[in-house]
């Protein structure tokens, strides 16, 4: 089937708690950047770097 297992080369970065705090603990709630922007920062912490094979 198409769902066969292959080698799993995925590594999720290990994110220290401090990194997460740095996104949010930058000022009072009413002075924070838009939530969408902060979401991209959070997702960025936990996403692997893009595949770069196309730039060979």
């Amino acid at each position: 089937t198409l769902d066969e297992k292959d080698e799993d080369d995925d590594e999720t970065p290990v994110v220290p708690h401090q990194k997460l705090s740095e996104i949010f603990d930058i000022g009072p709630a009413f002075a924070l950047p838009p939530l969408e922007e902060m979401f991209y920062q959070v997702a960025g912490l936990y996403s692997s770097k893009p595949l770069v094979q196309s730039v060979q």
Partner: protein, 450 residues
Amino acid sequence: TNSLNLKAQKAAHSKSLIFEPRVAASQSFDTIYILCHEGFQELCLLDGRFLEFQRDIFGEQSQTEDRVQMTAAENSELNKRLEAFLGLVGGRLRLTPAIKAVEWLLRRFRVHEYNTSFLLTTFLPYHTLPLFTTLLSILPNKLPQEYEFLNPYVRSLMPPPRRTIVQTATNSNSFASALNTYVLRICKSRQHYPALLAFWAGIMTEAMGGMLDKSRSGRKGVQEQKEHDVILRLLPTLNEGLAMKSVPDLRIGCYMLLSVMASKGGLDDKVLTAMMEAVVLGWTTETIIPGLVCLSVLAQHRGAKQMTKRLTKELLKVENLPSLLLQLSNQRRLDKLANGLCLSLVDRLRNHGDLRGLPIVEKMIENGILSDQQSSVIVKSLLLVAHQVDESSDQINLRQHLASSLVTLTQLPGHGGDVVRGTLKDTEIDMDELEMKLHTTIRPAILPAP
């Protein structure tokens, strides 16, 4: 005892957000009403939704309303109105008119005593401001359980730092659940404002990270159980949040929680799949892009490769899906999401002759969004579908499109094309036969015959 009673009454009457206790103690209700009503009227000019309170809690008659004289039913009805007002005024607490209006709720209806938890949660996003410390100074001695962590700050009259709030949300279920419930309730009544959602999402995301880290201690079986408990506690909030389509920031906050949850390894495939479906089912133009980012994080942690039919169906509705994915792939890896989609699209092609997926598959391979191995598997499965096409008239269309797609893929420049050509070279499918069947030449001239 009468004089004691009087003293207690006077002390209670001296609790104010605006006035020194001694001044407050001497004020009559009509003096306070005039001042507070002014604030209320200004609020009404800012936001017409405040007008609904002008006949009850801000009406003339409110000056003589005393909750001690009211029945339990009347009190509970009053609580609803007071909390409805507090919810609405939450977004304006940095404005003087708002403080004046809240002062009325405090002085006349003693919200700080009767609605302590709701009032505190309403003020919590402003915990760094002197306003919050003033509120701390007039609270009753015994705080509700979820707010007991404020006791040291009540004693020192210092603002609680954000760190303390995160720690409390991490370690106290009653506080975390009070915060979640409050936010959902405010969103349901359309009283949300950006700072509240940013505050909630930030605190809960960090707290959830902390809860999952904490659950990592102890024996493996115990760990799993603890992790499971953390997730079970939060899933209802996520489900409810994702179901509320019209509050984009609430959805994005849920995406945030989900992404961290999945990344910390807390979700099994079944939950991941359900959550991925919940992400796409209620998204709107405002939440599609962050939704795709969330999907990409969730997909990276899912064991199963192929995407569910439901998920694929919703993704196909997204305008410009390939270019959106392309754009997002510049910042992060989303090969598993793209691969799951491509596998499912090939499946639709094979089972239903659905051609809509072909251009998407081409784009994913062309732009190196898939890994080489993933690309190769997709190309192989396309070849297999082509191989199975028969001469019947209802497959003519499918045959033509597949042929043209395979030609396009083979002629791709760069690395993507190399992977496709390499796959063709390796395939066990009889290419001469396939080319005849498709009435086309797939293998380019540059490719030497094997």
